[in-house]
């Protein structure tokens, strides 16, 4: 146990305050810059007091970056990815922990290996699949000579196509698989006593019933934590949405932010850019603030 002395306490608080300042300063700059007009935002140093032009900056950013539709796209995208991740990882972990089937260990390790292959590494093949989700089957047919056979014998040209570009499906599906979430759930399931599963079995609950009635309610804190983390993660995705949304009408808010950033020779309206930034970073911030109470409730809850 470290002895607490006034000097030590002051030192601790000093370091913590410094850390807090470093963490909050960027937010403060965004907030302050978003409230000034073009002239004030370009003075050096930046005024430390907020100005009065917040609403006009915000409305300028809103119209210029089509934030109304883009934020909605982002919301649908991030919510679907986070929900999909929770659903998929809870079920994947359930099958790995509670069922004995051949290849169980292999599948477990395959999931484990995907941890080493983030989207950025496999972006080219993933993109090509998203461009035509049936491409692998087409390739199989081509290589096996079936395409040629159908063409020469029946005069049939086999072309399997299912384009996912510019669709929510293409945007969301490749991001839904998550090894991290599966592990989180696996660890949680391993803490659930076996007797609970046995009691449910004796009570007549089948495996799906047990999953719905026991594991899901018990993993509520887990679920909320995973959803929050994954929502923020998906909201901040840049590379994948940039690639897959080639239609300017479709894009999400984070990729759209670049239209607000002043170009080298354009008007340096950082006030509008910062207002847009504020609008885009608010939803995940709000979610974390709201969910924090649930986090704490989940952590202090003794019923486990």
């Amino acid at each position: 146990m470290v002895e607490r002395t006034p000097v030590f306490n002051i030192l601790c608080y000093l370091i913590l305050t410094l850390g807090l300042a470093v963490a909050l300063l960027p937010f403060a700059i965004v907030l302050i810059a978003a409230t000034h007009d073009l002239k004030a935002v370009n003075t050096v140093p930046l005024p430390l007091v907020p100005g009065t032009h917040f609403w006009e900056n915000m409305s300028a950013a809103w119209t210029r970056a089509h934030l109304g539709s883009k934020l909605l796209h982002s919301l649908i995208f991030a919510t679907s990815v986070a929900a999909g991740k929770v659903a998929l990882s809870s079920m994947a972990a359930y099958s790995i922990v509670y069922f004995r089937f051949p290849g169980r260990i292999l599948i477990f390790w395959l999931i484990f290996v995907t941890l080493m292959l983030p989207l950025e590494v496999r972006i080219v093949p993933t993109y090509s699949i998203a461009a035509n989700a049936l491409q692998p089957f087409q390739t199989l047919l081509d290589v096996s000579g079936l395409t040629w056979l159908a063409d020469t014998v029946f005069g049939l040209r086999i072309r399997l196509e299912w384009g996912l570009l510019n669709s929510y499906t293409g945007l969301i599906l490749p991001l839904v698989a998550t090894a991290t979430g599966t592990f989180l759930y696996r660890q949680f399931y391993l803490t659930v006593p076996d007797e609970l599963a046995e009691a449910a079995k004796v009570d007549g609950a089948g495996s799906f019933r047990f999953f719905l009635d026991m594991l899901l309610p018990l993993s509520r804190a887990n679920m909320i934590a995973l959803f929050t983390i994954m929502f923020v993660w998906s909201w901040n995705q840049y590379l994948w949405p940039l690639l897959i949304t080639t239609d300017p009408e479709f894009g999400i808010a984070v990729t759209e932010l670049k239209t607000l950033i002043p170009s080298e020779f354009g008007l340096p309206d950082w006030n509008v850019a910062m207002a847009g930034t504020l609008a885009i970073m608010s939803p995940p911030l709000l979610l974390v603030i709201l969910m924090q109470r649930w986090f704490v409730r989940g952590l202090i809850s003794t019923e486990k």
Partner: protein, 367 residues
């Protein structure tokens, strides 16, 4: 209510046999206690009956139907687990009613039956609480309620009282007995506690090393232990056992100073050879030293139990317990004599552990 039959039931994990070919018939409405030390396969046996453990070989029949391939819910057995296994996120009422909910019983019917069971177990006041807000005894009752509500053919208990304190355990024991009298459901109760076994059972099944040692009423098991293991396992303090030689004239000889007459009845004879002699602490008496037919010994220490006391004596390195209800003024180091009624002597074959019965001459001539 249902009868259960086990026919040559075996359980193996890989090459490891946990239950070796077990046969047992449990009558409808009977309260059977399976008693044995930990690791003897008694819990595995219970789990095979309920359907949580696969049966490696043999058959289990409930009411004459083979249930080997049936799911637990189809066997209509209810089980009370050692750690209760209550659903932590459900209230007491939801816990008790869960089996009915799964079975698709309507809410009103469910509520009615939950109340009924709760009343029988005196847990009506806690119906809206979560298990975490209950004491051990209350959780135990909820676990029993969860089993009772299904009106099962068979109740299975897996050491349900071992997590309770001594006082509560005795109270719950009485409660379980009372419930069984009321409901009359066939019950199988697994325990390592001989007091539980003696007080609860219609018949006790003593298991050791995956085999049945003896099946019988508590009195039979206590008064006529069938094997050396049962003799040593049941009784508190444990039965005094000593190994020696039986001489043709019916004298048990451990060494020169320790000789015991066996049976006084004329016409009885014991097969000679090495044997283990057992005497319950309650069957031996302390007498003044030097009496003929009394074994000379020295008091080692005395355990005070209130109503009675157990005098541990020592004869040349061999310890022996004598239970007595009177209060002898003895201190460690005193010389005493121990008198044993030959009728209270149990004899076991040294090699096989089987009980040796005195055989009368008539029986040996006409088997």
């Amino acid at each position: 209510m249902a009868s259960i039959s086990l026919r040559n039931v075996k359980k193996t994990y890989g090459k490891n046999a946990v239950v070796h070919g077990l046969d047992l018939d449990i009558e409808s409405g009977e309260f059977i206690v399976i008693l044995g030390p930990s690791g003897c396969g008694k819990s595995t046996l219970l789990r095979m009956i309920v359907g949580l453990e696969e049966i490696s070989e043999g058959e289990i029949l409930i009411d004459g139907t083979v249930v080997n391939r049936l799911e637990p819910r189809q066997r209509a057995c209810a089980m009370v687990f050692q750690n209760y296994a209550l659903y932590p996120h459900m209230t007491v009422a939801e816990n008790i009613g869960y089996a009915l909910k799964v079975a698709g019983v309507s809410r009103s019917e469910r509520d009615r039956r939950v109340r009924e069971v709760a009343r029988a177990l005196a847990i009506e006041a806690f119906l809206d609480r979560k298990p975490s807000a209950l004491s051990g005894g209350q959780r135990q009752r909820v676990a029993m309620g969860r089993a009772m509500i299904r009106e099962p053919r068979v109740f299975l208990f897996d050491e349900p009282l071992s997590n309770l304190d001594a006082k509560l355990r005795i109270a719950m024991r009485a409660e379980i007995r009372r419930l069984h009298r009321k409901l009359g459901t066939t019950s199988v109760f697994v325990t390592h506690d001989q007091n539980e076994a003696m007080t609860l059972a219609d018949r006790i099944v003593v298991m050791n090393g995956g085999k049945v040692e003896q099946v019988g009423t508590p009195a039979e098991i206590y008064h006529r232990p069938a094997t050396r293991f049962v003799a040593g396992f049941l009784g508190s303090p444990a039965m005094n056992l000593m190994e020696g030689e039986i001489e043709p004239d019916g004298t048990f000889v451990q060494d020169a100073t320790r000789r015991l007459r066996l049976s006084q009845q004329a016409g009885h004879a014991f097969p000679g050879g090495r044997a283990v002699l057992g005497v319950r602490a309650e069957a031996a008496r302390l007498v003044a030293p030097g009496r003929p037919d009394a074994l000379p010994a020295i008091v080692d220490f005395i355990e005070e139990l209130g109503a009675s006391r157990i005098v541990h004596v020592d004869f040349d390195g061999l310890s022996f317990a004598v239970a007595t209800s009177d209060n002898p003024a003895l201190i460690p180091g005193d010389r005493v004599g121990i008198e044993i009624d030959p009728r209270d002597i149990h004899l076991y074959d040294s090699a096989t552990g089987e009980r040796l019965e005195p055989v009368t001459a008539r029986q040996t001539v006409h088997p």
